[in-house]
């Protein structure tokens, strides 16, 4: 725990004081202080984007390695003070830890995985793309908008329109009517179970998130996954569930798994022919 800092007994101190460390000497240059309200971020990429911005350079020139380190530092701190991070953040942490290892350790000759540089470029591209979309959203929302800056006729008169049907309904109306109806009928049998262990479906969800991150190249992710996804006490249940879930996903074709020998790392990549997800 950081020195001179008193957290309340249950760790429920307000968010920002946890990160804003007053009275601390200036950080070294190029190492911006983490001032983070985790609730304010739209997922791990958003957080990364924020950190990249803090590097104060063009996205094309950021140090991916530094960025990965800052992110991992953030996650470690969050875990120390027992902030529960959503699975998305942990998945990203696992991936970044792997990326870091690829960047630092020279690539082995027979290693088939993507190089650290390729992985870094992928990350930089995704950050750039997200930022572009965010800017686009801002430009969009700042346009002259109907009902705010620009107005339609306030007192429309009736005109005969060319609609074939005399009835009005959108697909959205239709679907929400159906969904509501079915839900109403289904709602009677709901039971809420308490979670104590990593259930198979938890593990499966997390692995599915990973598949999105890792793409079609082999990645040795198991160690990183375990380190970031679970508290040490839950490690056994996590290993068991994650392994079982990965086998299930492999059977469905969602992932491919590879292990070169006993106790060797397990490699994973996105499957070539995933089955339909909605059970069709």
């Amino acid at each position: 725990m950081t020195k001179g800092k008193t957290t309340t007994a249950d760790g429920a101190a307000p968010m920002d004081p946890l990160w804003q460390e007053h009275g601390r000497p200036e950080r070294a240059e190029g190492e911006p202080a983490l001032v983070i309200d985790v609730g304010g971020f739209e997922g791990p990429l958003d957080l990364l984007l924020h950190l990249a911005r803090a590097q104060k350079v063009d996205l094309a020139r950021i140090s991916i390695l530094a960025l990965a380190e800052q992110y991992l530092e953030f996650v470690d701190t969050a875990r120390q003070v027992r902030i529960e991070l959503a699975a998305d953040y942990l998945v990203m942490a696992a991936w970044l830890a792997y990326l870091k290892s690829r960047l630092l350790i020279p690539q082995q000759a027979k290693d088939e995985g993507p190089s650290g540089e390729e992985m870094a470029a992928t990350l930089a591209f995704r950050l750039k793309r997200l930022e572009a979309m965010r800017d686009a959203a801002t430009r969009l929302v700042n346009r002259n908008r109907l009902g705010r800056d620009v107005f339609a006729r306030g007192a429309p008169e009736h005109i005969a329109d060319d609609r074939k049907s005399v009835f009005e309904a959108t697909l959205y109306d239709l679907l929400s009517a159906y969904a509501n109806l079915r839900q109403r009928q289904a709602v009677t049998q709901v039971t809420i179970e308490k979670r104590q262990v990593w259930s198979l479906s938890d593990a499966r969800d997390i692995l599915m998130r990973m598949i999105g991150e890792i793409g079609e190249d082999w990645h040795a992710l198991d160690r990183f996954l375990l380190r970031y996804l679970v508290a040490p006490a839950d490690r056994a249940t996590a290993i068991a569930s994650a392994f079982a879930a990965s086998l299930e996903l492999a059977r469905e074709g969602q992932v491919e798994l590879r292990q070169d020998g006993a106790f060797e790392p397990i490699f994973m990549r996105r499957g070539k022919t995933p089955l339909p997800r909605d059970g069709q």
Binding site: K164, A169, Q183
Partner: protein, 238 residues
């Protein structure tokens, strides 16, 4: 506007007049937009309040009224309130159809959705899914809209009529085929189905084409005639 060197007086007067005119035009634009956007006729006073200072609202409105007089839309005065109305001589264009689009009732939407997802489906099955009796009028409305049709008859006791959707249904809702209807995952993903969904929850996959199901007989001409006379699927079918 860059500052202009002091000029002969004539130019000054001209410039001033230009400024007055452009302020007037601006006032016209404001009045026009205000009246256009308002749901009710707008009082002259409230227009005057929003015009640049020193502009005579009455004069602005008079000029607007004259400008719109020959057009398809006229500016009309009702006591001291102003509104746009389509020109009286064009009423024939506007009132030709008189078919106001009606909103489908919630019940009708539900029945339509059930028919879309569960087709071929009988009235009894619709009622089972909804958990309530469906009034005769509901299916009639959907037939009238042209979205629902008789498909055939189920080969089961009573040979109940089966319902399905039409080509017009797909057109109206922007679907290419019935298979484009979103499935369980997608409804969940879009936030339409929320909360916990019980494990047994199933959504049917609508048929890919109009082929009759295995336990379905085609409608015969006499069936149709009969139904036309008996009004479809009256509440006591058996």
């Amino acid at each position: 506007m860059a500052a202009v060197e002091i000029e002969p007086e004539d130019d000054l007067i001209e410039a001033e007049q230009g400024a007055v005119e452009s302020a007037f035009v601006e006032a016209e634009r404001i009045a026009e937009a205000l009246i256009f956007a308002s749901a009710q006729p707008v009082s002259e006073r409230s227009i005057a309040e929003r015009l640049p200072a020193g502009i005579d609202a009455r004069a602005v409105l008079a000029r607007l009224k004259a400008a719109y007089a020959p057009r398809g839309v006229n500016l009309v005065q009702v006591e001291d309130h102003w509104a746009f109305r389509t020109a009286a001589d064009l009423s024939f264009v506007l009132r030709s159809g008189e078919t106001e689009a009606r909103k489908l009732s919630r019940a009708a939407l539900e029945v339509l959705a059930i028919i879309a997802y569960h087709q071929p489906v009988t009235r009894a099955e619709i009622e089972e899914i909804r958990g309530v009796q469906t009034s005769k009028g509901t299916v009639d409305v959907l037939m009238e809209a042209g979205w629902v049709r008789f498909r055939g008859r189920r080969r089961s006791p009573g040979r109940p009529v089966t319902f399905g959707t039409t080509r017009d249904f797909l057109d109206h809702f922007g679907l290419e085929t019935l298979r484009d209807l979103p499935g369980l995952e997608e409804l969940k993903g879009a936030g339409l189905l929320s909360g916990r969904i019980p494990p047994g929850f199933r959504m049917p996959l609508p048929p890919a084409d109009d082929e009759l199901a295995e336990d379905e007989d085609p409608m015969t001409a006499s069936d149709i005639e009969e139904l036309g006379l008996l009004t479809p699927g009256g509440s006591d079918e058996e």
